[in-house]
Symmetry: C2
Subunit: 106 residues, 2 copies
């Protein structure tokens, strides 16, 4: 939609600045997860949004998607090197949220 990147921070936010992307990435920090397992770790996300989110992360080369040719289908998602380079940022966002004194469910 918007294509003007007038500062580096904006570039970062265009990649991970949505409701679900950081959460998906965060859950992959520990290692690869099977599709259904990853989705179950994220309460509240709809099937549609989950697929859409991982698809965009894949397109942006932040996660990898591996399809195993078995029955029933098995798909694993993992962080790419580029995705792994976001680790400190994701941990920072998480720890800030954890220690923020105003933390409360609005």
């Amino acid at each position: 939609m918007n294509s003007k990147n007038f500062c580096p921070l904006d570039h970062t936010m265009n990649l991970i600045g949505t409701k679900w992307k950081p959460i998906v990435l965060f859950h992959l920090l520990e290692g690869p997860l099977r599709s259904g397992v990853l989705q179950k770790k994220i309460p509240g996300i709809s099937n549609k949004m989950f697929t859409q989110t991982v698809r965009e992360l894949e397109k942006d080369k932040l996660v990898t998607r591996v399809v195993f040719p078995v029955v029933p289908p098995k798909v694993e998602y993992d962080l790419s090197d580029r995705g792994k380079s976001l680790k400190n940022i994701l941990l920072g966002l998480d720890s800030w949220g954890a220690t923020d004194t105003y933390n409360q469910t609005y």
Copy 2:
């Protein structure tokens, strides 16, 4: 809209996870700015979105808003202590965007 904070990271994103908020906060890292000056630092933002964004940041106690009783009107925005505590995160987002090898205007 969504009120489920099932992880700290989500709490953080609910506060700054929009297109304009991080950019506004970032430009205030150097110190307080007059409304018009701040807005001019952000190409592409509409008048409406600017006002809406700073209003929400103010409501969430991330920025302060000071109205000077002069003519013509003068308003200054500044980071609150809570907002300042986001400094490392904002700098992290910015430097990641600056060094990301895939950095390119899509």
